[in-house]
Amino acid sequence: MTTNTESASDCKIVTFTLGKQTFGIDMGALIEIREWDEPTPLPNVPTFIKGVSNLRGNVIPVVGLAERLGWEPSAIHARSCILVVSIGGKQAGFLVDEVNDIVGISRSEIQPAPEVETIESSVIDGLVRITTRAKDGTRDENGTMVLLLDLEALSLTKHLDLAA
């Protein structure tokens, strides 16, 4: 699957798409990938929190990640899934459009995210380019830019503090 062999990889990421963007998170934080299942809606929470879901007896929040990052909310479709991650001891599920791959990257390849004037630029930890075999068989010569997410910065608690 992965042809990213220019240098030894020292870190594995899971790549997924939100709209047309490809994102990545550290494999270490991933607990599991689940099919989309309508969560139980919660009152008095920001709209990006879709509700809570039952993960083997744990009640975890399900976050519309696209919305959380300021993109158009994801529409639910057959390939929608939930990435269950652990952030600072708390578990959360991220709704993503499609999970693509597990890719080994080298930390040295990670470029810092450009400073942009948004309220929180820190949500993107860095950028990395990976070359993959595209789904339609065409060769993706230029590679794909993957936005690496900083899960700590995505931490839900502080946003909910504001909302509560």
């Binding site: 969560p39 139980t40 809606p41 919660l42 009152p43 008095n44 929470v45 929190i49 809570v52 879901s53 039952n54 083997r56 007896g57 744990n58 009640v59 975890i60 929040p61 708390k90 578990q91 959360a92 839900l156 608690t157 909910l160 503090d161 509560a164």
Partner: protein, 735 residues
């Protein structure tokens, strides 16, 4: 690395807390006149182990002080210093300083000034002419904690570890004893072959054999002659015949009882064998030939065993198995009688990280849920086949047991009180006596941790407001010393914690005047005595005329009430003018399980805590009236109760007519409120899953639970829900 050290240190502090509790109880007992060797030794051990731990962690001040304290205790223990009231007083105040030192070691308090206390201890030692650093510490230091043999006296000795085997030896003798008649008198021979049907119904032969074994039976042989060649073997059929011998002194009824739950077509033969049995107890099990046992059966006494409701019965056996370990009964009985009430039960406990118990409870909760999922998905016929009720009951027992693991005696929460009262006594100049009842009542550890603050407030309130000054008491013809009685008792799934003083009672005139002055109630409010008493818990209320060191810090009884309510409990106040006041905290035994009503709001399921529910009504036309465009009340037999639509509060779409809905009347801090719900689905105990574990507390929700189908239902927080829309707190309070 340092994490590990911190962890070990945390254990030490936990032990300190336990040690302080023990020491305080011992000292209090001594103050109360119990100067038995055992009590003194208990205090000594506690202080000694605190010293030991403190030394290991380099808490020099704590070590030094504990050392001095221990010296005095050692002398008292050795009978060289008499435990006179004066000496006990010094020890009590030393204990307070010791607690302060522990707090300091924890980094929670500045270093206490222990000079006075040290001097007092010195003096106690000096007055007896005991060399300060001579023989006493030398004697004290090497003595390990459980060593006070000369003091504790003989009976305690068997409880010590090295003697632990003695009772077992007795036990074995005792266990063999019933076997003795076997050789001389008759025996029973039992042939047992479960039927195919019994196996199909999950009748487990092993359980029955084990039960027989507890009566003293031995398996003589297993007759395998019916087992067919492998290719003909039907794995669902039963081929084996067990032949057991049972001591003759066992009543036939007891044997029959073991087969109560066996399917009627199983083979059960119980034969009295008058001929001397071939000493089965001493032979290896497989030796005797089965034919012989079979031939010897002269009178065949088939045991009736026809019970229809096999499922329900077998489940009881299995549940019992889960509850009690399969040890031969005589052994524990003897151990108990041989061990004369050990001084401490420390040897029988194990320290477990609370988070592990939480995890276990979580898993059991999950099991409960899976259980109901199974029940939901299976057809009734299948349910019979898989013996689901058995599983459900077993699960329930496991759940109860796990809950009981988290249970702790409430004395942990009570342990701070004596110290607090001594301080309060000094601050207020009042004489206060403490009486405690029911300290051994067990409550979930989570509850114990959370009642500390409310308890502190209630005790302070009783000491500061409740009890009169000594002069006042004498003038009123009461004993000079006021009494505060602290008690705990369990009633059903609730725990009642009372703080009762024999002081002046609530001055209702003044309370009412104050409430009017503060705008808590309107000037013309007509309140019953109980309602006036409740005003004490109103936010911002304080009757203290002057701001003393104790009260008037802006926190009052309202904190008690909100804390208790946050725990799902409530506070009751009962006061008799001139005779005293009783505050009662009524709390759930556990924070993990909730008795709930499952309701639907806009077709989403929610859980209403049953503790709040008063009644449910199907509104008649005209029974719900508008008092403003946004507010409605329901006419409850002449009482107008405000109606809330939770759907509005939660922003759910709801176009139901109120006449098509149900109104659940709930009682909250803010009075009665009717909550509009679509339907009531069910009533059941739910396992509370906190939302803030992974998310954040959400206003209006007390958590979530997982229902039988695996879906989540949110638990409504009635107080918050009502408060969030009810801005008329004073009115609600008076209602």
């Amino acid at each position: 690395m340092s994490d590990e050290l911190d962890e070990i240190q945390a254990i030490f502090f936990e032990e300190c807390t336990e040690g302080l509790t023990t020491a305080e109880q011992g000292l209090s007992a001594m103050q109360g006149g119990d100067v038995s060797a055992e009590t003194i030794a208990g205090v000594f051990r506690a202080v000694h182990s605190i010293k030991g731990g403190a030394g290991a962690f380099g808490h020099a001040d704590l070590t030094a002080f504990a050392h001095k304290f221990e010296n005095v205790l050692d002398e008292v223990r050795g009978g060289k210093i008499a435990p006179t009231p004066g000496v006990i007083k010094v020890m009590l105040s030393s204990f307070d300083v010791l607690s302060d030192h522990v707090e300091t070691a924890k980094g929670l308090a500045p270093r206490p000034n222990d000079a006075a206390s040290l001097a007092a201890l010195e003096k106690v030692l000096a007055d007896r002419g005991v060399p300060e650093d001579g023989a006493a510490p030398a004697a004290a230091a090497p003595v390990p904690a459980p060593a006070p043999a000369p003091v504790v006296a003989a009976p305690a000795a068997p409880a010590e570890d090295e003697f632990g085997f003695t009772p077992v030896a007795f036990a074995l003798d005792d266990f063999d004893a019933p076997a003795a008649p076997v050789a001389s008198a008759s025996t029973w021979t039992i042939r047992f072959k479960p039927s195919r049907a019994a196996l199909a119904n999950a009748g487990e032969p092993l359980l029955i054999i084990r039960e027989l074994e507890t009566l003293g039976a031995k398996v003589l042989s297993v007759d395998v002659s019916d087992v067919p060649p492998l290719r003909d073997l039907d794995p669902e059929d039963a081929y084996l015949v067990w032949v057991l011998s049972m001591p003759g002194d066992v009543a036939q009824r007891d044997i029959d009882d073991c087969f109560d739950f066996v399917a009627p077509d199983s083979l059960v033969e119980v034969t009295r064998n008058e001929v001397e049995a071939p000493a089965p107890a001493f032979e290896p099990i497989p030796a005797p030939e089965p034919e012989m046992a079979a031939e010897d059966l002269i009178p065949f006494v088939p045991v009736m065993a026809s019970i229809d409701d096999l499922t329900a019965q077998v489940q009881q056996v299995v549940a019992d198995l889960a509850a009690t370990p399969m040890t031969p009964t005589p052994a524990p009985a003897v151990v108990e009688s041989a061990a004369p009430k050990p001084a401490t039960e420390a040897a029988q406990t194990i320290r477990v990280d609370l988070s592990k118990l939480d995890l276990l409870l979580n898993l059991v909760g999950e099991l409960v849920i899976r259980n109901s999922i199974l029940a939901d998905r299976l057809s009734p016929a299948d349910r019979q086949r898989v013996e689901l009720p058995e599983l459900a009951r077993l699960t329930r027992q496991i759940q109860d047991n796990v809950m009981s693991l988290r249970a702790q005696p409430i004395k942990q929460a009570f342990s701070r009180v004596p110290r607090m009262l001594r301080d309060l006594s000094v601050e207020t100049g009042k004489q206060i006596e403490l009486e405690t009842v029911g300290e051994t009542t067990e409550v979930d550890k989570g509850v114990i941790e959370k009642i500390g603050d409310p308890l502190t407030h209630m005790i302070r309130n009783a000491a500061d407001h409740g009890l009169e000054s000594t002069e006042e008491r004498i003038a009123a013809g009461k004993s000079p010393a006021g009494t505060i009685k602290l008690s705990a008792e369990q009633k059903g799934a609730r725990i009642f914690v009372r703080v009762q003083d024999n002081g002046r009672g609530i001055n209702r005139e003044r309370v009412k005047a104050k409430a009017i002055e503060k705008g808590i109630i309107p000037a013309d409010a007509q309140l019953s005595n109980e309602e006036i008493d409740q005003l004490i818990c109103a936010p911002g209320f304080s009757t203290a005329e002057t701001i003393s060191n104790i009260s008037g810090r802006g926190v009052g009884m309202d904190v008690v009430r909100s804390n208790v309510e946050a725990l799902g409990g409530r506070v009751e106040i009962h006061s008799v003018p001139g005779e005293g006041t009783t505050f009662t905290m009524i709390l759930p035994l556990t924070l993990a399980i909730l008795d709930g009503m499952i309701v639907r709001l806009a077709s989403q399921r929610f859980v209403l805590p049953l503790a709040h529910v008063l009644e449910t009504v199907q509104p008649e036309p005209g029974q719900v009236k508008r008092t403003s465009p946004d507010t409605e009340v329901i006419d409850m037999r002449g009482e107008y109760v405000p109606v809330k639509r939770a759907t509005e509060i939660f922003g759910l779409n709801d176009d139901r007519l109120i006449e098509d809905s149900l109104v659940v009347i709930v009682e909250s801090e803010h009075g009665k409120v009717g909550l509009v719900v679509d339907t009531i689905d069910d009533r059941r105990e739910v396992v509370i899953k906190s939302l803030d574990q992974n998310l954040h507390p959400i206003r209006g929700l007390g958590g979530a639970t997982i229902l039988g189908d695996g879906s989540i239902a949110l638990i409504l927080d009635i107080e918050a829900l009502v408060a969030s829309t009810n801005r008329y707190t004073p009115k609600g309070l008076a209602a």
